[in-house]
């Protein structure tokens, strides 16, 4: 079955119209603009969703006034943030201070580039996609560290140091979980990882590796929550202790860049989780032909979005349920529990893969 795609005809048409180097540039530009649009729309939508979901978890209604269901509330917020004065405290390090807000959003932008949204809806598919993702997602940490250092404020510095310690630690178990999938699927390209999960729901890596897949998925959720700086592991912000942590000194558009990046990052991490564990853009097949055909008829990017938003719901659910951890508890959770657990899980998965004890 050739998958439905609108991007191929568009790319071919541009290749016909323009000579070769320009066509490549034009196609690349279109892809970049598409991703940029996705970043903006996702960020705005997720801000709304977060507020709504949070409100409902707390038996409130959330925004209802601006637009239908309060949908235009984040737009109004964005306008407000853009109109605000961008204050620069006198003692900050100018370069670091203004560079820092750009880094996290760039990082999540670069991650989104390699995420396969559909069969033919992926800007780039490097062979070492996983390695690329871990490399560029480090940019967010860099932004937080530089921002905290450049702000020349004790709260910012403390927050960013905490963030650094936390993010570097949790990166370990997150990468180990990804490594497990790379080992099981035999490829590090995100597209091929998705394609390695073809079949029924039981062929998704979360179920296909008995126990190990599920454990890896849970570890991934916990460590990516820490990576995303979201509650209950949002130690670097901890507004009650650190008056906002690394973004204490930021206002207006610089602050909104950090804010935006947080939400886009969440989408990127959820997309990554869906790709690695939940079969990415593949339709969930239950093994009963008539239903399967119906499900396969729905385009892949909708399945991708559904899975990603399911994970986003998980992130929000845990954020608005659990209280924040203390910094030492957080670090001992990683080093004394998550890291050994993910190493043991990796070993278990290796055994399973070696003896081919996977669900057929």
């Amino acid at each position: 079955m050739t998958p439905l795609s609108i991007t191929h005809p568009l790319g071919d048409w541009i290749r016909q119209q323009l000579p070769s180097p320009f066509a490549a540039i034009a196609n690349g530009l279109i892809a970049v603009i598409a991703i940029a649009m996705l970043v903006v729309v996702t960020a705005i939508f997720l801000v709304w969703l977060e507020r709504k979901v949070c409100a409902r978890f707390q038996a409130r209604l959330g925004p209802t006034r601006v637009g239908p269901f309060g949908l235009l509330q984040p737009v109004a917020d964005a306008i407000k943030l853009l109109m605000k004065e961008n204050i620069r405290p006198r003692t900050v390090d100018q370069l670091a201070y203004f560079l820092a807000p750009l880094l996290p959003i760039t990082g999540s932008f670069l991650v989104l580039i390699v995420i396969p949204f559909d069969h033919n809806l992926q800007v780039l598919d490097p062979d070492a996609g996983i390695v690329y993702v871990t490399a560029v997602s480090g940019m967010g940490i860099l932004g937080v560290l530089i921002g905290g250092w450049g702000s020349n404020n004790k709260y910012s510095l403390l927050g960013s140091m905490r963030a650094g310690a936390q993010l570097f630690s949790y990166e370990l178990s997150m990468v180990l979980c990804m490594l497990l999938i790379v080992m099981a699927s035999g490829t590090a390209s995100l597209r091929n990882i998705v394609l390695s999960q073809q079949g029924t729901i039981l062929d998704w890596w979360i179920f296909k590796l008995p126990v190990a897949g599920l454990v890896a998925f849970l570890l991934f959720i916990v460590s990516s929550t820490a990576e995303l700086n979201r509650g209950p592991l949002d130690l670097s912000e901890a507004e009650q202790e650190l008056t906002g942590g690394f973004h204490t000194e930021y206002t207006g558009i610089s602050f909104s860049m950090f804010f935006l990046a947080e939400f886009v990052n969440m989408f990127a991490a959820a997309g990554l989780g869906a790709t690695l564990f939940l079969g990415g853009f593949l339709a969930p097949q239950i093994g009963w032909h008539p239903v399967d055909q119906l499900l396969a008829f729905i385009p892949g990017f909708i399945w991708f979005a559904a899975k990603a938003y399911f994970l986003i719901f998980l992130y929000m659910w845990t954020r608005w349920t659990f209280p924040r951890l203390r910094i030492d508890h957080l670090l001992s959770l990683e080093w004394k529990f998550l890291l050994p657990a993910s190493l043991a899980n990796l070993l278990l998965a290796a055994t399973l893969v070696l003896f081919k004890w996977v669900i057929p």
Partner: protein, 145 residues
């Protein structure tokens, strides 16, 4: 090393918490938010809602206040002034219960202080006025008992 038992306990506690919040999100009826200006006609109040202080009167327009001034002393903001007068039997009775809504924080202390249940927290809450004097209220409808 954390024991396995404690670990299981923690996990079940976490799941219980998740269950509580999930319960909220799947039951839209449990939302407590009231959308005020729209539902002004149908607004209902919980029993213990604390609006402005009122003095209940019975069918003869009598109230329970004995002008003991305990509420006046209890009020942290000095929002209450009990102006007393003498009735024909030369007994000290309430002349005017002056209640300055503008400085009242609706804290309920005066109600707790009153030994005769003469005042209670009402449900009035639309308290805006154009002058401060509008918020100086006399709660009793007639003097004495």
């Amino acid at each position: 090393m954390i024991s396995l038992n404690r670990f299981a306990g923690s996990v079940s506690a976490l799941l219980k918490g998740l269950g509580v919040t999930l319960n909220y999100i799947v039951h839209p009826k449990r939302v407590v938010t009231r959308e005020y200006p729209e539902n002004r006609e149908t607004l209902t109040f919980p029993e213990r809602f604390r609006g402005q202080v009122v003095m209940p009167h019975d069918e003869n327009n009598d109230h329970n206040c004995t002008a003991c001034t305990l509420c006046e002393k209890a009020c942290p903001n000095g929002s209450i002034s009990i102006l007393t007068t003498k009735n024909i039997a030369s007994k000290r009775v309430l002349g005017q219960f002056v209640y300055r809504l503008s400085s009242c924080t609706l804290c309920n202390l005066c109600i707790e202080a009153c030994p005769f249940d003469a005042i209670r927290m009402g449900h009035g809450f639309e308290m805006a006025g154009y002058t401060r004097e509008e918020l100086d209220l006399i709660l009793n409808k007639k003097e004495g008992r």
